[in-house]
């Protein structure tokens, strides 16, 4: 049987630090539960994929940076997809982003949602 897929839609970005740890934590957890996990970064979510940006976002004052949670998710095999329209919204180019991110259009979100057993939006 193919692994079950889940999709996490990440809309929160650098302006809302407290919303920037749990989505990565949940993605890592889902991967640990043997789900195949996609994260789709749209609206402000795309900001977190800029090189170094997540390392400056602290969901808890004095705590761990969002970049640590992001890296955990990547290490666990979570696939990161950046929404091209949101990239344009923030004036970002592919070379601005961390390695391992795939740029996809909005239609890909629907395809991923269609293939996923569960879709969660943050």
């Amino acid at each position: 049987m193919d692994e079950e897929r889940v999709l996490i839609v990440m809309t929160s970005g650098t302006d809302t630090p407290r919303r920037c740890a749990t989505p990565f934590f949940m993605a890592t957890l889902a991967a640990a539960m043997d789900y195949e996990v996609d994260m789709f970064f749209t609206i402000d979510g795309a900001q977190l994929l800029v090189k170094g940006a997540a390392d400056k976002v602290f969901p808890k004052e004095g705590g761990r940076a969002a970049g640590g949670y992001l890296q955990d998710a990547l290490d666990a095999g979570v696939r990161f997809k950046a929404c091209t329209a949101s990239m344009e919204l923030h004036g970002l180019k592919k070379e601005d982003l961390i390695d391992g991110v795939e740029m996809v259009g909005g239609a890909s979100m629907w395809e991923m949602a269609d293939a996923a057993k569960i879709v969660v939006s943050f």
Partner: protein
């Protein structure tokens, strides 16, 4: 019970060293499995949740694949199965009280029970006895893990 790099490691268990999990034969040919003291140290020494894969009871598990997840403030990740076989039972007590996995990782803090599909074959590949504990010591030294620090 051996103590290696400050980590308690019973000498009668079988260890999948790279994944920091143990296995032990129990009555009826099943194998009880759980996390080692180094696993707990690596995860930050305290769990906010231990969740055995209850949904997978009755299903086949492959050695090295996830049989539970652990969450701490520092870490979230899988607890890999040390042996292949059918998951027969999970420890509800550890799910309710994750501290059990920390305070008694080889006793009340066990994670699951498995009917192994090839115990005779797989146990030969697991670390065991004096030689096995020496291999574990080498691994802990190379990873810089010390339970007493």
């Amino acid at each position: 019970m051996a103590t290696i790099k400050g980590c308690e490691l019973p000498d009668d268990l079988y260890y999948l060293i790279k994944k920091h999990v143990w296995a032990k034969e129990i009555e009826g040919g099943d194998v009880r499995v759980g996390m080692t003291a180094p696993a707990i140290k690596l995860a930050g020494g305290k769990f906010i949740a231990v969740t055995p894969k209850r949904k997978a009871i009755g299903q086949n598990l492959v050695q090295g694949k996830s049989m539970a997840t652990v969450e701490s403030s520092k870490f979230v990740g899988p607890v890999p199965a040390p042996v292949s076989g059918v998951l027969t039972k999970v420890n509800d007590a550890v799910a309710e009280n994750p501290d059990l996995a920390v305070s008694d990782p080889y006793g009340e803090g066990w994670i699951a029970e498995i009917t192994p599909s090839d115990w005779e074959g797989e146990k030969g590949e697991l670390a065991h006895g004096t030689e096995g504990l020496e291999a574990y010591r080498v691994q802990l030294e190379s990873d810089g893990v010390d339970c007493s620090s």
